[in-house]
Every structure is written in C-alpha cells, then in structure tokens.
Symmetry: C2
Subunit: 309 residues, 2 copies
C-alpha cells in the first residue's frame, strides 16, 4: 500500500437543459487534482490549496475535502493522519461543479489510499455530504456524474435512486466560463415555485427524448430534445450574452446548448470534435465582443469518473 | 389484390403513470375488428357496427372509420367505393383507446386493401385525424402505440415527434374496465393548470427512470419509476375502488399500476404471466365487492400494432 496518492476528479454539467435536478454528466477537463499523504500526526490537515485565490477554507471541518476525509476515516474506525494538497484546476462558482470535483477527488483518493475498503456506490453519500458542506444542500447531480463518469440520472432523492446511463461514444462537450458572478442562491431563488402543467408535460417529453437519444446513440433525437422551457428562460437573464452564444453554437452545428448547473457557464454538446472546437472559438469570440474574459474547455464526455495520476 | 380485408387493431394504454400525454403502449387484447369490402357504389359506407350498442354514428362523415377512409382515398385521388363492417370487441369510453383502435384499424385496413401506397409512418396523421373526429383533439398517445405496437413516446406535438421505444420481452399488461362512466372532458377539466415545480421535477425523474427501465429491460427500475404525483391524485377520485385495486395489485407482485388514459379503466404491468393473471382475478374480486361489474383483460404488450386476420 502506498503512502501517498494523487487523483484527478472531473468537472460536471448538471441539469443538461430539460433535466433540471435529475441529470448530469462529467467531462474530461477541467477538474481538480488532490494529493493525499499519510502522516503520523493523527490529524487530517489541509497543507496547501493552489488555484483558489484564497477562497476556500483551511479549517479541516469547513473545507469540503478534509471534512469528507475525516468522516470517511471516522466511519472506517481509522485514526490515520492525512495531509491534503489540493490543486483547483477549474474555476470556483462557475456552475461546473467545482465543489463536487473536490468532494469526489477527496473521497475517491482516501478510499484508494486506504486500500479500497468501500465500493464506488458506497462513496456517493460521502461525496454528497461534501456538497452539503460546500453548498448547504446534498445535491447529487454533480457528485454522481463526477464519481461515476458519463451521464447519470438522479431518478429520486427520497429514497436516493441514482442510475448510470450509457453514454454515446462520439459526444463532445464544449464549456465556456465567462467571468461573471452568478450566485447559486440567486439562481435558485428566481425560479418560480409554480409552473404551468402544460410546460411540465413539454419538459417531460424532452426529458424522455433526451434519455432515449442517449441510450440509443440517436444524436438527432438528442438534439431535438435539448430544450428547457422552464428554467432557461428565467436563469438566462442572469447571464449576459447567453442568447448570442446559444444561437451561434446551434448555427455552427452543435446538437444543443444550455446553462451548466446554475451558471454562468454555458455548455454545448456536439457529435464531432471539430464542431466542438469551433463552438469553443465562437464562445470565446462572443464574450470577447462583450469585453468579458472567459475560459473555454473542449473535451469528450468523461466515461470513467476520477482517475489516479 | 384482394377485394376485401379484415384487420384487428389493439386497445392502448395512454399516460402510463408519469408519462401524461407523452407515453402509451398497445396490448394484445382487447381491440377492434374491421372488415372492408370494395364496392362499385363509389361511396364509403358504414354497413354494420356490432358491439357498440348503437352508440357510434353511421353517418360516413361523423363515424371515425369512414371519415378516415374517405380522407385517405381522397388524398390518394381514388374514388373507390368501400363497405365497412366494424366489430367493437372492446368497451367504449373506457380509457382503453376505443376510438383510436377504430381509427387505426380503418387506416391500416384501407392502406392494405389499396396495395399499401403509404408507409406506416405516413398513416399516423390519418389515425390522428380520426381521433380529432371522435374526441375533438388530435391526440397521438393512443393512435401511435396502436399503429406501431409496443411503447411509444410522443416527445412533442408541435412539431409532431413520435418515437418507437424498444419494449422489454417479458412485460404483461392487466386491464380492468369497471362499469363506471368517466367523461374524458371531466377528467381533463379537473386537472390543475398550474402545478408545483418540485412536483414537475419529481415527475421528470420518474419519466426518465421509466424510459431507462424500458430501454434496458430493467424491471425493477420500471417498477420504481411508475409513480404519478400530479394527475393520479386528482383523477383517481373519479374512480371508485382505485386505491383498493392499486394497493392490492402491488401487494401481489405487479411492477406498477395506474389509470389507463383518462379512466375509468386501470392497468397494471407485471413481468410474469402468472402474476398478471392473478392481478386480473384480484381486480375482478375487488369490483365485485363494490357490486360493480367489470371486464378483465390479460395480455402481453402488443409489439406489432394491427394485424390482418
């Protein structure tokens, strides 16, 4: 057994247009890198965090990574000391599942370091607990795809029912993170509590179409189904340039596009690598036109979740 | 080419719990039988209707079968005379897609009789037109599964987007038609126009789970997903004995149960023929206890749509 381990865990896109709170997928990049080293201190300590510009707490009970690891070790009955080195290689508060990537990286790494006492499925509640610490709510639509890879359906939260979906081979994600602040809390609060039943039926039709398209690798059906008549019209108001980006990427051949999580990042899916790259260039150009800085990420759908590096 | 043809078209279950207005499936029985005979009259005529107790119109412009056939022939540029003999082998106004079975039988039969000038897909709009004549609205959630067989998804009505879903092999339907009148119009009008968004999200989760279960033959997932938190609580009020039936069939091993279409019929799905038969016996017993007559139908999911007999 090693005395240290380094793990990458991926960014994730939750909601995926019509799949609000029930659907998410993982990408190959960006993501977080965590290094854990066994120590004789008997303590779980945050030694270093890079790339967060000082935003993340170092207190081991408040930091997502350390809190998750402490809980994991406690339930294992272990008093192993752990030194944590976290490298945020993705933006915080971007709607790309930053806290989920940290939670998943931490729980995956500690499980491997301790000789894999838990199955992947058993790790999910720990990662969700990490989300609770970071966001106040134990959502699974980022941590589940982050942990399992591919597309994941959260059929139900009570009881928790998480289903891994077969993901089509030739699916590429393009992400843009424009430097705009959208608070998850605000993005939640502006949603309507009541909606028209007919809009709910339309949304259900699209959810059913999207799931069918994914499971049968029907890219045209995926494209026809990627519509959100309920959340997007409201949340997109918080994201300058949203309509320009969406219209343009559809024009140049993306299958569909939407808000990543609660934004401000925008994602697009394509079934062609070149289109996915062009989508990224156009996204960058549009935000440059608004004098808003942005990062672009182009990658395949991550099919495997975290990996040891 | 023959001068006459006899066709069976199946009953159908629309909505399928969480799939309100977007999902339906066909059963092997009951259904309608139609016989068409070429005549030299140049007219499309209803010669005989059996089994409707005089409820269906004989006027060729108001009767679903003749109206559909007239339109089909007109668009084909044919002045072929047709004599129609319809045998209703299923109850009317039962929520089992009675008018859809007649529409589908008529359009399938005339297409075969005329040498199959149209594809199956091209027949759908004619069958939907039949629904418009019978019910005032061109719904597709009965006619599409009736025409194609198996489970069918109506992703969208505008534009119309109908997707045939792979149906698991070992799936059996049990139907009970209690002799209670529920008017489709009433069943529509009591629905709420606005619903809680959180209920819509739950419903979406179940729709996604049900579709995934169907496409991967995961019977347990099908069972976990067959819940309707929106329509069932309201419509089931119109159906005496509903809760008794549902509780009992779940107790004895059905995967799930719900209102068939707008009721009053109730359907259950099972992945075992013996359970499906027992479910039927229990349904019958419960309604007998309420002194309500009922018919029971137990069959496989119909995988092929109409057939020539």
């Amino acid at each position: 057994m090693c005395d240290s381990i380094k793990v990458f865990a991926p960014a994730t896109v939750a909601n995926v247009t019509c799949g609000f709170d029930i659907l998410g997928f993982a990408v190959d990049q960006p993501g977080d890198e965590i290094t854990l080293k066994k120590s004789r201190s008997g303590q779980v300590r945050i030694v270093e965090i890079k790339g967060d510009e000082g935003a993340l707490p170092l207190d081991p009970d408040k930091n997502t990574c350390s809190a998750v690891i402490k809980r994991f070790l406690k339930e294992l009955g272990s008093d192993q000391g752990i030194d944590i080195f976290l490298e945020k290689k993705m933006p915080l508060g971007s709607g790309l599942g930053s806290s989920a990537a940290s939670s998943v990286a931490a729980v995956y790494a500690i499980n491997e370091l301790m000789g894999r006492p838990r199955t992947l499925e058993e790790l999910l509640p720990y990662a969700m607990e990490g989300e609770r610490i970071a966001c106040g709510a134990a959502h699974a639509d980022n941590v589940a795809p982050g942990l399992y890879g591919g597309f994941v359906l959260i059929r139900s939260y009570d009881p928790l029912d998480v289903i891994r979906l077969k993901t089509p081979e030739a699916l590429y994600a393009t992400l843009v993170h424009p430097h705009i602040e959208v608070k998850t809390k605000d993005a939640r609060e502006i949603l309507k509590k009541q909606i028209y039943f007919r809009d709910s039926v339309r949304q259900s039709g699209n959810v059913a179409g999207l799931i069918t398209g994914l499971l049968t690798s029907d890219y045209d059906l995926i494209s026809r189904s990627m519509h959100d008549h309920i959340v997007e019209p409201i949340r997109s108001i918080l994201i300058p340039g949203y309509k320009d980006v969406k219209d343009r990427v559809m024009e140049i051949g993306a299958l569909g596009a939407g808000i990543s999580g609660s934004g401000p990042s925008i994602f697009a899916l394509s079934n062609d690598e070149e289109i996915a790259a062009n989508v990224g260039l156009e996204m960058k150009l549009i935000y440059a036109g608004f004098e808003i800085e942005s990062e672009i990420y182009v990658s395949r759908i991550n099919q495997y979740g975290p990996r040891i590096i």
